[in-house]
């Protein structure tokens, strides 16, 4: 048993400002400590409702006005055997009074609902961190399940941490003694008791959670009442117990004025698709097969039928994209959503979409691979599959969002490209973006890009036969975009046939002519290359403009790389952050931008796929830094890599002894 009065918890380098004492109910004198940021990790059994608890705490935190970033981490098994290590599910939340970029490298606070959760998460909790345990769960049986020979609550092995054992289960049962629920059912509310305790500790608003529970269990009022009672009991326990003498205050982060909501990547991506349909005037047709971690997009879009969104749960991945392509042929905006294994299955149909030059959005929410790999973990290893995973020369645009909220804008941008250029577009999200959440400034619909000009269905002949008769040529191209004419079935006089066989330039008839094939292959490539003209210059963040080392990334590494660059700059060094959203084609100035730096580092959650592309295209000696653990980068580790590159580069200009990665992180 350790300290009952934990000292202020927060990142050691952060300012800990004033503490104030006030009298809580029951006459206890409790102090309030102001912190600028906290990372909390909730860990428990898959059946303990840790994801729900984390999401609720996140919602409370978002509505309080902190900036935040989350990292849910759960097993692929729906319910591994109770109390075992494979069954542990966790949720990490980083929230702050300033803008933050990652869910945090390591927790400051760990809540472990059982011995398994303790065992699998303790090594991430830095010494001195606050450790809250459900002491009821530390039974000989549960300890044996995970191989604890002695009880860590009693054997002194937790002395390095601020350990607070709390009988969460029995206190929940006590609180619900009069609820009429059985023991088993009542026990399930212990996550709400825990949420109540944390809500007290961090001064979170509670009304949202009460409303949520009422809504969630509106058909089971007794369950709603029990959960609310447990939630309040947890809160009141915090206020009255001597075990916690301190609560923490993290002020709202300054944000631009406006309406905000908390949003996950999959939610934002779904809304982006709906918005793109509305802003283009085309109905959405989603053909999809359930796959982790992309299924939530199918779930979300299936709710928006009022917006003309059709969702089709296909018999397989191939039918999902096939149906989407069929719908595009008919004048809808075809969309298919999947993860890496699904992209592999869809490859042939993507090739057909390249050949038929129809708009199509392919969303790949990447996960650990190869094969089934790590379904619930994150990775960026489908980039080369997206670029090259088809037979023949089959180029397509590839774009990647950089944060959960950015999935919204990236979806709209992907649709803009698909419609403007009549091409399938690959949108590469990943498991970290998909399930992670952040505050999102809700845009006004009218402020979103107007995509109506990108549609332009053909309504009449666009060419003439040799005898002068007007004809429709489906492969007649717009001279600027090289997009082909798009005539939808039902349009009088424009009947035409398309397909996977090579097309004659212009009239689109089958052609085996060698010169025509060479021309068409080059034209399809030129069309995709030409998209670069419609995208902005490379996004470079170099505050002083004179960094000699640049870090380049794509997709979800934006947050960890950005946080690492902040550390570097805070240590007095200089570094440029380059983040590419458009990976195919790259922005036209990218080669020039890369050439400005003495060293370019490319961190990726794969074995160097973007680095390979950059080296091949620009002959730049990109230094690859890779990690394929299924988890996002830790910014301190990235900072160390960057610092090393800076300190060993030819032009050192570093304050002696300043460590960017922070010895204490």
């Amino acid at each position: 048993m350790t300290a009952s009065t934990p000292p202020p918890i927060g990142a050691p380098h952060d300012d800990v400002s004033a503490t104030a004492a006030h009298a809580a109910t029951g006459g206890l004198v409790k102090s309030v400590v102001a912190l600028d940021r906290v990372v909390i990790r909730l860990a428990g059994d898959s059946g303990d409702g840790m994801q729900l608890t984390g999401n609720r705490f996140t919602s409370e935190t978002a509505s309080f006005g902190n900036d935040l970033s989350t990292l849910p981490n759960f097993p692929a098994e729906i319910r591994a055997p109770t109390g075992t290590l494979p069954g542990v599910s966790s949720f990490q939340l980083h929230f702050a009074d300033h803008d933050i970029m990652t869910p945090g490298d390591a927790p400051d606070v760990l809540v472990a609902m059982n011995p398994a959760a303790l065992k699998s998460n303790l090594s991430d909790l830095p010494g001195g961190g606050l450790l809250i345990l459900d002491s009821d769960e530390f039974t000989p049986r549960n300890l044996a399940k995970v191989g604890y020979a002695t009880n860590p609550l009693e054997d002194g092995s937790l002395e390095a941490w601020q350990t607070v054992p709390v009988p969460l289960t029995s206190m929940t049962l006590d609180a619900l003694a009069d609820s009429g629920l059985g023991k088993k059912e009542a026990e399930r509310s212990k996550n709400m008791f825990t949420l109540g305790l944390l809500s007290w500790m961090y001064h979170r608003p509670t009304e949202g959670t009460v409303r949520f529970l009422e809504r969630q269990f509106r058909r089971k009022p007794d369950i709603a009442a029990a959960n609310i009672a447990a939630f309040r009991a947890g809160y009141n326990y915090g206020e009255t117990t001597e075990a916690f003498a301190v609560s923490y205050e993290i002020k709202p982060a300054p944000m631009e004025a406006g309406l905000y909501r908390n949003i996950s990547g999959n939610q934002a991506l779904s809304l982006g698709i709906v918005a793109a349909g509305q802003r283009s005037g085309l109905p959405i047709f989603l053909g999809a097969y359930p796959i982790t971690p992309a299924s939530d997009i199918l779930h979300e879009l299936s709710k928006h039928k009022a917006f003309g969104v059709r969702t089709f749960q296909a018999e397989d991945e191939i039918a999902g994209i096939g149906a989407a392509l069929g719908a595009s042929f008919g004048g809808a905006l075809g969309v298919t959503t999947t993860s890496g294994p699904g992209v592999a299955l869809k490859a042939e149909t993507i090739g057909l979409a390249v050949m038929t030059e129809l708009p199509l959005l392919i969303v790949d929410v990447q996960r650990g691979g190869p094969s089934t790999g790590l379904p619930t973990k994150t990775e960026q290893s489908d980039l080369l599959q997206a670029m090259f995973g088809r037979n023949g020369e089959a180029p397509l645009p590839v774009i990647a969002p950089r944060s959960p909220g950015d999935c919204f804008d990236a979806a709209i941008e992907a649709v803009r490209i698909a419609l403007t250029y009549r091409t399938p577009v690959m949108l590469l999200s990943d498991g970290y973006l998909a399930n992670g959440a952040e505050p999102w400034a809700v845009p006004e619909a009218d402020s979103l890009p107007d995509l109506t000009g990108t549609v332009g269905f053909a309504t009449g002949p666009n060419a003439a036969a040799t005898d002068g008769t007007p004809e429709f040529h489906p492969y007649q191209r717009d001279p600027e975009t090289l997009a082909r004419a798009w005539a939808v079935p039902g349009t009088v006089g424009l009947q035409h046939r398309i397909g996977g066989l090579e097309k004659a330039d212009g009239n689109g008839n089958i052609s085996y002519d060698p010169a025509n094939h060479d021309f068409m292959v080059r034209t399809r490539q030129a069309k995709i290359d030409g998209i670069a003209a419609s995208i902005g210059p490379t996004d470079v963040e170099d505050p002083d403009g004179d960094a000699t080392v640049a870090v380049i990334g794509w997709g979800s590494t934006y947050g960890p790389i950005g946080a690492a660059c902040r550390r570097i700059r805070a240590s007095g060094r200089k570094v440029a952050q380059i983040h590419v959203r458009h990976i195919n084609p790259f922005p036209t100035d990218l080669g020039e931008v890369l050439a400005r730096y003495d060293r370019v580092i490319c961190p990726e959650m794969n074995l160097g796929q973007l680095a390979l592309l950059l080296r091949a295209k620009y002959l730049v000696d990109v230094q690859s830094h890779t990690q394929v653990s299924g988890m996002p980068f830790r910014s301190a580790e990235l900072a160390a890599v960057i610092q090393d590159a800076i300190d060993t580069s030819s032009t050192p200009a570093v304050p002696a002894g300043a460590a960017a990665n922070g010895a204490t992180q």
């Binding site: 006005g65 949520f212 944000m255 004025a257 406006g258 309406l259 905000y260 908390n262 709906v274 918005a275 349909g277 509305q278 283009s280 005037g281 085309l282 109905p283 047709f285 053909g287 928006h304 039928k305 009022a306 003309g308 059709r310 089709f312 296909a314 018999e315 039918a319 989407a324 392509l325 069929g326 719908a327 595009s328 042929f329 008919g330 004048g331 809808a332 042939e348 057909l352 038929t356 809700v442 845009p443 109506t452 549609v455 332009g456 269905f457 053909a458 309504t459 009449g460 004419a485 939808v488 079935p489 039902g490 349009t491 009088v492 424009l494 009947q495 035409h496 046939r497 397909g499 996977g500």
Partner: protein, 367 residues
């Protein structure tokens, strides 16, 4: 090329399944013409099947009968997969897509479900639809998407030059089975009925009248129709259906299915179909059974067991092959139900993008 702006926020009001974008451009293109002639459906593309191929006969039959449906050619879409038969769309002056191997039913599902105003056709072969595309076929059938599937069955792979197919008989010697095929074949009609297909028929390429009759009923059927067309490949499997085509043996071994008529067939009506002792059907000699025991054909039976039993009368050697419509029952279509759900949603909820984006738990940051 004329183009026009499309309407934002107007993706079809309840009752109109077509988006404003499509409706506007279709309206702008001009008047639809439904009094077509066969020649209106021909294209300028040279037909490139082998001389003597059964596909020519089917193409002619389809071009001749389609105008009688009163559908404008721009409202017809033919989707095919890969194989000899899948060249079909190039020869039809309609909209068309010659897609990839086996996937035509999936592509057609997306088109039919998002454009219920179109007449969607799938042209496929035994390899395309029963081997590589078997999954899409059975799922299209069970969903009852409004489309007509023409399955050209020649019991061989033609385009890849003569390997056995999933309908080839056991023992068939081909390039890939020099010692004879050891694969048990599919009976496509049984397979379709197993998937609870709402319309299942069979016809012979050379029988213009019978083929047209089945095709017309298939086209008029609401939901997925499957028509198996026995088609002769005179290069790699010539004479595969000779037993049924030969005037001498054809009447003996074909069982014409006529709605409401007793199943009597063969020279002088000597054979008939009666119930067997196990809930199935069997062949009997007409003069050996009570006239009342002869089964009267009824394709509209809800339970597919009867149609299935019919499909089991014939074996790999094609003796006792029923020809005509096995099953034709009415069930809600997938596209119809999808449109209904959208209509219901539009009544229940306004399509307000601002409300959607700002939904859920929100908070406001002041100036």
């Amino acid at each position: 090329m004329t183009t026009l702006d499309t309407h934002v926020h107007d993706l079809g009001m309840p009752g109109n399944p077509i988006s404003a974008a499509v409706a506007d451009s279709v309206a702008l293109a001009g008047e639809k013409k439904t009094d077509l002639k066969a020649k209106d459906l021909k294209t300028d593309q040279e037909v490139r099947w082998c001389p003597g191929c059964g596909d020519y006969v089917i193409l002619n039959a389809v071009q001749s009968f389609l105008p009688s449906l009163g559908i404008a050619r721009e409202d017809m879409v033919i989707i095919s997969g890969i194989g000899c038969s899948s060249r079909f769309p190039y020869y039809m002056n309609t909209y068309g897509m010659h897609s990839i191997h086996g996937r035509a039913p999936a592509i057609a599902t997306g088109l039919a479900a998002s454009r219920p105003d179109l007449s969607v056709w799938v042209v496929t072969g035994d390899g395309d639809s029963l081997s590589i595309g078997g999954n899409h076929l059975i799922h299209a059938l069970r969903r009852n998407v409004n489309m007509t599937i023409l399955l050209f069955n020649n019991r061989i792979y033609g385009l890849t030059k003569g390997q056995y197919s999933p309908t080839s008989e056991v023992g068939k010697v081909t390039k890939s089975t020099p010692m004879g095929s050891i694969d048990a074949p599919f009976n496509p009609i049984s397979l379709a009925l197993g998937a609870d297909a709402t319309f299942v028929g069979r016809a012979m390429d050379s029988d213009r009248k019978g083929l047209t009759d089945v095709l017309r009923q298939a086209a008029e059927h609401q939901g997925t129709s499957l028509v198996e067309i026995y088609q002769n490949c005179n290069i790699f499997n010539d004479g595969a259906f000779e037993l049924l085509k030969d005037p001498n043996t054809g009447t003996q071994w074909s069982i014409p299915l006529e709605q409401g008529k007793p199943l009597v067939f063969g020279p002088e009506g000597a054979a008939c179909v009666v119930k067997d002792d196990f809930g199935g059907l069997r062949i009997a000699e007409t003069n050996q059974v009570d006239a009342d025991d002869i089964v009267v054909h009824d394709a509209t039976r809800e339970n597919p067991a009867y149609a299935f039993a019919l499909s089991r009368l014939s074996s790999q050697d094609l003796r006792y092959t029923p020809m005509g419509v096995f099953r034709s029952v009415s069930k809600p279509t997938y596209d119809g139900m999808m449109t209904e759900q959208l209509d219901t949603a539009k009544v229940q909820q306004t399509a307000d993008l601002d409300a959607l984006l700002g939904g859920g738990e929100t908070w406001t940051v002041g100036n």
